[in-house]
């Protein structure tokens, strides 16, 4: 395996009496896309700021591209999209992006191409005050692309974006990953992450409570599969009694099936084909997993790699 782009060991951050980060371990390889999940106040933004060198950690170790976080050499290869970015409203999109190119030591020749990539070429001469929230977010995305970054960090990038903008957003971050950039993005919008990230890290009260591929996290959590059985007229009560399910309306019964009994129970259900009109299988969603791992009663401190 190649050297990690970001390596965090036993990272702690105290704000007075508050422990924002509690012995966090995390390693991100080049080209890997990581989603960072957690409730508000779980420590996502603190962790991001520590990686960027905007915050000094209380103890522990962070190495970014083999260097210190926030050092000039590292900053040249990092890109960041903060939450709630507003830019200067009296500048045009092109002027704002040119400034970012100059500050990064990249030529301004790539500016039109960058704006075109995020669909802002036509609006480039307009002042940012006239941009919609989605357009401002895309301008933020354009500045991420300057100078082929090796580490890309996005804080709540898709909040307030329409589905089409979200899609192009993930398309662009995936492209950066294909070029070898390590991507770390924090998000609340869970459903959209399933196909677009390689690994999921869940923070709770400053600790990592889950870290692994989605399929591994699913297996570890052992969450039941929900089976919705639509009964033929008059058969609802019988089905509910037989499988211990609950009626969710006049003719549909919800049955929770543990993953290891899945095949056997489905066999039983389909054996009653005469009584059944339809079956829906609902595997545990990312929301279910997230709830499981971020709930102090069910989530354990374990790293499943």
């Amino acid at each position: 395996m190649s050297k990690p782009a970001i390596e965090i060991r036993a990272l702690c951050k105290q704000f007075g009496a508050l422990t924002a980060l509690d012995s966090v371990d995390l390693s991100i390889a080049p080209g890997e896309r990581i989603a960072l999940l957690g409730h508000n106040g779980a420590g996502k933004t603190t962790l991001i700021k520590a990686i960027l060198g905007l915050l000094k950690s209380t103890s522990g170790h962070i190495s970014v591209l083999g260097g210190l976080p926030g050092s000039m050499a590292v900053r040249r290869q990092c890109a960041f999209l903060p939450e709630n970015l507003a830019f200067h409203k009296s500048l045009t999109g092109r002027e704002q992006l040119k400034l970012f190119c100059r500050l990064k030591g990249a030529g301004t020749g790539a500016v039109p191409a960058l704006l075109d990539r995020v669909g802002l070429l036509e609006a480039q001469g307009r002042r940012i005050v006239t941009y919609s929230k989605g357009m401002r977010q895309r301008l933020g995305l354009a500045q991420l692309l300057i100078g082929s970054p090796k580490v890309v960090i996005l804080d709540e990038p898709t909040s307030g974006l329409d589905p089409v903008s979200r899609d192009s957003f993930y398309e662009i971050t995936s492209e950066l990953a294909e070029q070898g950039a390590a991507i770390l993005l924090s998000s609340h919008v869970l459903t959209e992450l399933e196909a677009r990230t390689d690994r999921i890290v869940i923070l709770r009260n400053g600790s990592v409570v889950a870290d692994g591929r989605l399929s591994h996290l699913r297996a570890d959590a052992g969450l039941p599969i929900r089976v919705h059985v639509e009964a033929r007229p008059g058969q609802g009560d019988m089905l509910a009694a037989r499988f211990g399910g609950t009626r969710i309306n006049g003719h549909t019964v919800k049955i929770l099936v543990p993953p290891e009994e899945k095949v056997a129970r489905l066999g039983e259900i389909t054996g009653l084909a005469n009584a059944i009109a339809d079956i829906d299988l609902l595997p545990p969603s990312l929301e279910d997993l997230y709830r499981y791992y971020s709930d102090p009663r069910t989530g354990q401190n374990e790293n499943s790699q």
Binding site: L54, M72, R75, P82, H88, L91, E95, K98, L99, G105
Partner: protein
């Protein structure tokens, strides 16, 4: 490093142009300067005193109030505004040192203030040139006035940036700079003058007072310019009081050079302390 500072400077000048600060400061400086130039010519039109010199003296008093005000209003937003817009954490992750951000913004503001001063005071000088003619001595006074005005502007731009770096919100910074202007420019003179009256030529007047004048950037500015013009016009309370005191002539100028350095260093330290 230079290219990054220039990029930040260019952007700041563009912002000052767009939000009308360039226009506002030029209009203010020009309007007040022309007003003073014309009022100076009315009662003394036929006297032997050089009109340009008279006007330089009254413009000194104008500059004491106007330049700090323009400088503070131009600079209070520079860091706190970035913080408001959420661009400060982004800027801090770019490969640009925090003092470079400060220098770029400060230099742009200083250029704008310099241009406004040259145009404003220059308009007054030109008006007098065409109506009453000029003397070499008068032009020297004007040149000195413009140069020290830029220094005075530098002091208050530095203070504005310092306040801006200490405030999380631009609104707080705006309230603070107005307070600073009232205290440092308006109230300080009143306080010094009342202390002078109360002391009635005692120890305070002879020992502490001259040093307080040198230490205050606005008084150092007035002292240096009026002492240099030296014509003994009735220039107003403090200055006429100070003309009777012997002070090394360069001290006020040194004070004007030291102030911007000190406040900029403090602003740089405040900027480094920010954890966005």
């Amino acid at each position: 490093m230079i290219s990054r500072i220039l990029a930040l400077m260019g952007t700041e000048i563009r912002v000052l142009l767009r939000n009308r600060w360039v226009a506002t400061s030029i209009v203010l400086m020009t309007a007040f300067s022309l007003l003073l130039a014309s009022s100076g010519s009315a009662p003394m039109g036929s006297t032997r005193i050089d009109l340009l010199t008279v006007t330089a003296s009254s413009l000194t008093t104008l500059a004491v109030y106007l330049i700090p005000l323009i400088a503070l209003l131009m600079s209070y937003d520079s860091i706190a505004g970035e913080s408001d817009r959420g661009t400060l954490p982004l800027l801090f992750t770019y490969p640009v040192a925090r003092h470079e951000i400060l220098f770029g913004k400060f230099a742009a503001q200083l250029v704008v203030l310099f241009v406004a001063t040259v145009i404003g005071f220059g308009a007054a000088a030109l008006a007098i040139w065409f109506t009453a003619g000029v003397t070499g001595a008068g032009l020297v006074h004007f040149g000195r006035l413009i140069a020290t005005s830029v220094l005075l502007g530098g002091v208050f731009l530095g203070i504005g940036n310092l306040i801006s770096a200490c405030c999380k919100q631009a609104g707080t910074a705006a309230a603070l700079v107005v307070t600073v202007w009232i205290l440092a420019v308006v109230m300080l003179d009143v306080a010094l003058l009342s202390a002078l009256v109360a002391d009635d030529g005692g120890v305070f007047t002879k020992t502490i007072f001259p040093w307080l004048l040198v230490a205050s950037p606005t008084d150092a500015f007035r002292l240096y310019n009026i002492t240099a013009i030296e014509a003994g016009f009735p220039a107003g309370g403090l200055t006429s009081a100070v003309q009777t005191l012997a002070l090394p002539g360069l001290l006020p100028l040194i004070s004007l050079f030291l102030w911007p350095v000190i406040v900029l260093a403090a602003a740089g330290a405040a900027l480094r302390r920010i954890q966005p």
